[in-house]
């Protein structure tokens, strides 16, 4: 069983990215595969490596990077949504890549379940 994960909102303003992270972590812990995590709409802001939350808060961007590294996850940021919002290659945190929206549809096709998190 493989999951695709879609994150529609940026970090902090909404819980969407937090919930997606906890879900992904739990799925991996149970031994399931994650075909891809796709960041769309304001979700592209989750890839901004300049993010620097207070030290007593969770670091949403870094946490995705670290989970990605540990499990070799494919963390894909939508190119069109990212361009609009000013998320470019030079801002990408470790483990994220920018690609087309086709990567989301492909995840919908290739995964057994696509789970969407948003506002």
């Amino acid at each position: 069983m493989k999951f695709g994960i879609l994150v529609n909102e940026g970090p902090f303003n909404h819980q969407a990215s937090d919930s997606a992270y906890k879900f992904t972590e739990a799925a991996l812990a149970k031994g399931y595969g994650i075909y891809r995590v796709f960041f769309y709409y304001d979700g592209v802001n989750n890839a901004n490596k300049l993010s620097e939350p207070p030290s007593d808060d969770r670091h949403i961007v870094r946490r995705w990077s670290e989970l990605g590294k540990k499990y070799n996850l494919d963390l894909v940021v939508c190119v069109a949504a990212a361009l609009r919002r000013g998320i470019k290659d030079e801002l990408l945190a470790e483990g994220f890549r920018i690609s087309g929206l086709g990567q989301l549809i492909e995840a919908g096709i290739q995964s057994d379940r696509l789970v969407m998190f948003g506002d």
Binding site: S19, F23, A26, Y32, G118
Partner: protein
């Protein structure tokens, strides 16, 4: 089909939309601000308890706890799950419809 609701039933129409579309026997997970719909002593809580014979209703424990609720304050017929349980629901009930 698994339906998810992450919005407060007092603020938005997402819970109503979900409950009026979900087919008998489907599963519904309340999480994030959606967990308030499972709390005792509220009109949405009564609604949720009422549909729990036709739908399998779940609520995410970590989101309940974050908001200061524990299992004893959840209406009858609703099952509390953790993130691992959320994953199991997606596995068991098939495609997911998120009522954003």
């Amino acid at each position: 089909m698994l339906h998810t609701v992450n919005k407060s039933p007092f603020e938005r129409n997402a819970l109503d939309a979900c409950l009026t579309h979900a087919k008998k026997g489907s599963a519904v997970l309340l999480f994030e601000d959606g967990v308030y719909a499972a709390t005792k002593g509220t009109a949405p809580g009564n609604t949720v308890a009422g549909v729990a014979k036709d739908l399998k209703i779940f609520v995410l424990g970590p989101d309940l706890k974050a908001r200061g609720y524990d299992e004893s304050q959840v209406v009858a017929g609703v099952t509390v799950v953790d993130y691992g349980g959320f994953v199991d629901l997606v596995v068991e009930h098939g495609p997911v419809t998120a009522w954003l």
